[in-house]
């Protein structure tokens, strides 16, 4: 459904993504993990063409995203017209770390806005669909609230409802719980787990290893712009072979599991 071939990106002279290959099948949940600066957010954002990737191809459901025509060495490709980009992105939904709700609209307003402007639904139809989505994330009772009146977890769930309302085939999550207080993380992860159970194709950039271990079909470890390891959660978390992956997991365990097995928190 989603295919990345040799995707590369540079910011100025820094190469952030180097020849990434990735395939996401229908109903598959892929988790991207890795240290900061490894390029995972950039990669995810490129899949929504929020970042223009320089090399390679990103193909969504058979259509090339963002560029027109085949790649030629030495020449920069022509950017596709906005309508074409929107067309290819039509079935992709994105959830951001900072929620990015529109503060001057209510929860239901946020969810219905795109339905009315893009899908051109009537006010009544949009409202019905919107309420159904808010209900799905457990926030139907907060439909008339403004984002400022909602907790972080609730705001993120509204953001998820907003993306889901457009009935995407693929959902992209960019560190959806990183900006949340620890107690609120659970409610958002639960919504995401339900989505996965329903068969949604998901690509999630996350630091929540527990989520990745439980829900992901495949986990991809990125470091310094390259895919260093990929496999099932079993392979990645329990049979980590690559030294960089081992180091990353060790750091994570040191920080997070310090009360187990007499391990002390790492003091450096």
């Amino acid at each position: 459904m989603l295919r990345l071939e040799k995707v590369g990106k540079s910011f100025g002279s820094t190469r952030v993504l180097k020849g990434i290959d990735l395939q996401v099948r229908h109903s598959e949940v892929v988790c991207l993990i890795g240290p900061s600066g490894s390029g995972k957010s950039t990669l995810l954002r490129s899949m929504a063409f929020l970042e223009e990737y320089d090399e390679g191809d990103i193909v969504i459901e058979g259509q090339l995203l963002g560029w027109v025509g085949a790649e030629e060495p030495g020449k920069k490709r022509k950017r596709a017209p906005q309508s074409q980009i929107n067309q290819v992105r039509r079935n992709v939904g994105m959830v951001f770390q900072q929620f990015n709700l529109w503060p001057h609209m209510t929860a239901i307003g946020n969810v219905c806005e795109a339905l009315r402007r893009v899908r051109k639904l009537s006010a009544e139809e949009a409202r019905q669909r919107g309420m159904a989505m808010l209900d799905k994330v457990g926030l139907a009772h907060k439909a008339a609230s403004y984002p400022a009146q909602l907790s972080g977890g609730q705001q993120q769930r509204v953001a998820i409802a907003r993306a889901l309302a457009m009935e995407p085939h693929i959902m992209l999550f960019d560190e959806p719980t990183s900006a949340l207080d620890p107690e609120l993380v659970g409610e958002v992860l639960q919504v995401m787990k339900n989505l996965a159970k329903e068969g949604m194709t998901m690509v999630v950039v996350t630091h929540e290893m527990g989520f990745a271990a439980q829900v992901a079909d495949s986990v991809v470890f990125l470091d310094q712009g390259e895919v260093v390891a990929r496999g099932t959660p079993q392979q990645i978390f329990h049979n980590a072979e690559h030294p960089r992956l081992q180091q990353f997991l060790q750091n994570y365990l040191d920080r997070n599991a310090f009360w187990q097995d007499g391990k002390e928190a790492a003091t450096s």
Partner: protein, 223 residues
């Protein structure tokens, strides 16, 4: 020293019409300033470099010269360029042009201060650029710039006093005129101060009221 309020009551209708002229030139100047300022802001945000460069020069010139000098240029030097205006239109024009530059700055920074992430979310959902501007950026921008707008409008109110120099019969000119006729400087200047105080106070009260009504559900973002 004799303080004679009678001087004021004797000339009450003169003072009244002066006050109205001040009010009129102020509001006209503000309306003109907002209109022009909007055009300038749009040109700066969406225009190409060919439009932005001369605009930048214009803005710098207006910002670097005193209002009085600009007023003189319009009223006294204008006729040489075919622009022969009566004092009141000249005053309104000058006030409007002077204010437009500052209004444009407010509009531009307000527009750009809407957090980028919100625009990205809109983009991902397929919302077009124009829809995004009208539905997401403009509504938030209006709330964000309200304090700065009220501030600027207040400043322009005080600048109307300068219009008295080209013989526009507004409050300052009327009261200083009475003052020099009757030598009752204390009374007239006191009333002058109170007059402007009333205008400025009314303006800021209006601003606070609007802020409270509109900004109730929005916390001003600084993302």
């Amino acid at each position: 020293m004799i303080f004679d309020p009678g001087i004021i009551t004797d000339h009450l209708d003169e003072i009244g019409s002066g006050f109205l002229v001040t009010l009129g030139t102020w509001t006209s100047g503000v309306v003109l300033g907002i209109g022009l300022g909007l055009l300038i802001a749009i040109a700066q945000l969406f225009g190409n470099a060919l439009v932005r460069a001369p605009l930048r020069v214009f803005i710098e010139l207006i910002r670097s010269t005193p209002f009085l000098v600009q007023l003189f240029l319009v009223y006294y030097a204008g006729p040489a360029f075919g622009l022969s205006l009566e004092p009141v239109p000249a005053g309104i024009l000058s006030l409007g042009v002077y204010g437009s530059v500052y209004f444009a700055e407010i509009f531009r920074t307000g527009f750009e201060s809407v957090a980028r992430g919100q625009l990205e979310a809109a983009d991902c959902l397929g919302i077009t650029r124009w829809q995004c501007i009208m539905r997401i950026q403009v509504p938030q921008m209006l709330v964000i710039i309200l304090p700065a707008l009220v501030n600027l409008v207040t400043i322009l109110c005080k600048e109307t006093a300068v219009l008295s120099i080209i013989t526009i019969p507004e409050l300052t000119m009327v009261l200083t005129g009475i003052g020099s006729e009757t030598f009752a400087f204390v009374e007239t200047l006191l009333v002058l101060c109170i007059g402007y105080l009333l205008l400025v106070e009314a303006c800021s009260r209006l601003g606070m009221f609007l802020e409270r009504r509109v900004g109730r559900f929005m916390n001003r973002q600084a993302q």
